[in-house]
Symmetry: C3
Subunit: 339 residues, 3 copies
């Protein structure tokens, strides 16, 4: 496959600066460009690479103002990262391995209802009354418990385990090893002994959700643990029982939410963030890495620290804390002066 810069500009609605007839064969990184490669510039930290890239062309933001001559053709768009993602998606679709059919080495209950154009890999185990929508791809070693429902155009990668009664929507991607619907961590303590609280709810994952590898989303004690549409959850994340994750919210790797907490829409949680149970996080909350959220947050703000407070306040405290030695010294000096 070979395209001209002009053809690509057409697809992503870009204006071309440089050779519109240059030939593009593949995509490449800006710092490791080569003849025939198309790259992009989005992160300002990488700006210096564009002045020496060997890529044939680069997608840049409309408002990018070079400080030196740029050696490659530029395609200017509103949002370079977004435009590049769109192109990669085309590229990926073309090379995608479109597996179809149910392996003879899979174990599918007779009562299961399988849609059109579905792939079920070897050693997948599909329980009683499971429903799987059209075009969904189930890789080897996936286990779907009884009565699980999976929508259409969803991908469950190798080794995903979904417990009985759980529901996964359309256009979802769940990565290898992730466990959906294990029992929530609920025990009643009495006289120093734990009694298990049976977890009879389920997990509901709405449409267009992506979940990383080896993540855990526990079933509700009663009712449902809910991941609303367009949410994105990274690897090794813990979502406890009865949590509700709002539409379009994102959790980076190794973050965790304790039981019954309600997370709003379009929130972003960085890596290793912890969130207490039984609280409410407002829409568009941002929490920086390793922070610990202990109270409800009203939303629309960024937080940092453990316990998490508004990010500007915490950053100020970090600076003051670093000055503690000099503060103590000053205090000693003053003490001597006044005593």
């Amino acid at each position: 496959m070979e395209f001209t810069v002009a053809q690509i500009a057409d697809v992503i609605a870009a204006t071309v600066e440089g050779d519109a007839q240059a030939k593009i064969k593949t995509v490449c990184k800006i710092e490791a460009g080569f003849e025939g490669g198309l790259t992009f510039l989005a992160n300002p930290k990488y700006t210096h690479y564009i002045y020496e890239t060997k890529a044939t062309a680069a997608i840049v933001n409309k408002d990018f103002v070079p400080e030196k001559p740029v050696p490659c053709t530029m395609l200017r768009v509103e949002n370079s990262y977004f435009a590049f993602a769109k192109l990669l998606d085309f590229y990926n679709q073309m090379k995608k391995n479109s597996k179809v059919g149910v392996s003879k080495m899979a174990c599918v209950a007779e009562s299961a209802k399988i849609g059109q154009n579905v792939y079920i890999g070897e050693f997948a185990s599909i329980g009683e009354n499971v429903v799987i929508g059209d075009n969904t791809k189930i890789f080897p070693h996936v286990c779907l418990g009884d009565n699980v429902k999976v929508g259409h155009d969803t991908v469950l990668n190798s080794g995903v385990k979904i417990y009985a009664e759980c529901v996964v929507g359309n256009d979802c991607i769940i990565h290898a090893g992730t466990v959906i619907g294990a029992d929530g961590f609920g025990f009643a303590a009495q006289n120093g002994e734990f009694t298990k609280v049976p977890q009879i709810g389920n997990v509901v994952i709405e449409d267009n959700v992506e979940i990383g590898a080896n993540t855990c989303i526990d079933r509700a004690t009663m009712g449902s643990t809910i991941i609303h549409k367009n949410a994105k959850i990274d690897n090794l994340v813990q979502i406890a029982h009865n949590v509700e994750v709002g539409e379009g919210s994102a959790f980076a790797a190794q973050s965790g939410v304790s039981g019954s907490t309600k997370v709003g829409k379009h929130c972003i949680f960085a890596g290793q963030v912890g969130i207490a149970g039984h609280i409410t996080i407002g829409d568009q909350t941002i929490v920086a890495a390793q922070s610990g959220v202990t109270n409800s947050l009203k939303g629309g703000q960024a937080y940092l620290g453990s316990p998490a407070i508004p990010i500007t306040q915490e950053r100020r405290l970090i600076i003051y804390r670093k000055k503690l030695p000099e503060l103590f010294q000053k205090m000693d000096e003053i003490s001597k002066l006044v005593n």
Copy 2:
């Protein structure tokens, strides 16, 4: 199934306040109650819901004093959460899927000894000389290495991996994807190179232990990593080689214990807590979320912070830290005064 409030009161030894003949069909959440639903009130944060719940009846603590009229029948017990758990357990037993039998698509070594009434799902792999007790349920994709022993009435959910020589007790539940007995992280460093220290011990899990999903418990270098009876371990927890977890201790999600540490009885570790290696944690220690325990603790106390210190001391320091800006300002003012 339908019961009267009086029948339920009988099971959980409750005194009834309201209509003892009201009909109960199922359980429900207090904030999402409905006709025929039975709920409970344990967490004080939820108290306000009881004044407007649509549930038919609610289990409450003996000493609950309503501030307004309660619209539903109340069942008063010593511990409402515990009583509700007991009921849920009945409910769950009734609807439990009692799978039995060894799937033809499982792979069971001829030398394995399988008890009565055991379930072994498809694609489970049972190694040489494995022993499995009566009534134990082994879900699809479980892998038991050679010489593994599993007690009676234990449940190993889909994809649990237990390495050779490890032992799991009776009445245990292990959730999907958990790995028991992988090599401890032990290397001898010499001249900047790592030499692997073979891990020839095993893991011993005693009776009535519950372990969450995608958790890891490493085998001992020599001897055993031991999880004593009644311990409860959540998802994504790391228990390193040669650790010993005392009877009835609980670890919330994403917490971790480093090698050779000995944890006492009835301790509670909240989410994302980290514990250093080669230390001893006394009985009934409580450690708050995200704390880092760096030294041995004598037990019977609560800790917070990284490094963890007694919780009241740390909470005081958090407040003082927040006042640093005003302290620095005051210092400036005084400096001007005395100079």
Copy 3:
């Protein structure tokens, strides 16, 4: 098997102090020694055990000076831990279960190329064009996607999932449940919506790398996520897309590295450490447990804290922070004096 102390001294180049003809039957822990057992002393915390050990012999460091009589024979070497590891390795090789052959219950694509003396367990799924080197052992439930390459003498434990196109070197060990090559967490945000950035790169793991259980190493957006030779990665670790881990670096459990960060050689990261994305960590950096690295580090130093700073500075700040209450009190007293 039975050896004399003299025979063992020969293997590890030790000088013997005590009975060189004493018989050794197995290895044991210093605090739980017994007749016929060989132990070692490396960690100074365990020194007191050597004065009362029941082991027949102990490997100790050349420069160990006992404060009391030692009841067992001593084998003095340069590095006792290293020497013991070497012996354990022999021991382990002898008892190692040398499984060979391809199970009839495995699913191996016809186009796959399998080396000599390879073991492929039941329910393993080997994709199209996979290449597996000699003596490599693939346990049950492993899934190798299309075009995966695995070197010789490598062990992939039960349930390891390797996505298409990834490469694993020679002499590697990957523990159960680990996922190699899942999609990096890359989304382009526009108008509050996430668009997935296809992840078309792969993961390359070089020779002699060990990776723990339930760890995740994501494939690169473009190019490769690279784990260089001799690196050691513990359980539940997150390595994000496009990360590069330098030769001989080690990550303890539950640590994580964000996208595109480059980690140098011979670095050590303790448990639950988090590292920001798009930064560079110099060679021989050490980061203490639970620290958060937010900026590039030049290497050769130890760091602590979140955000991480040089360890001596952070330790000093921890001490000063603990003295905050008295500082505030002093300030109050002085305020009264000068006003």
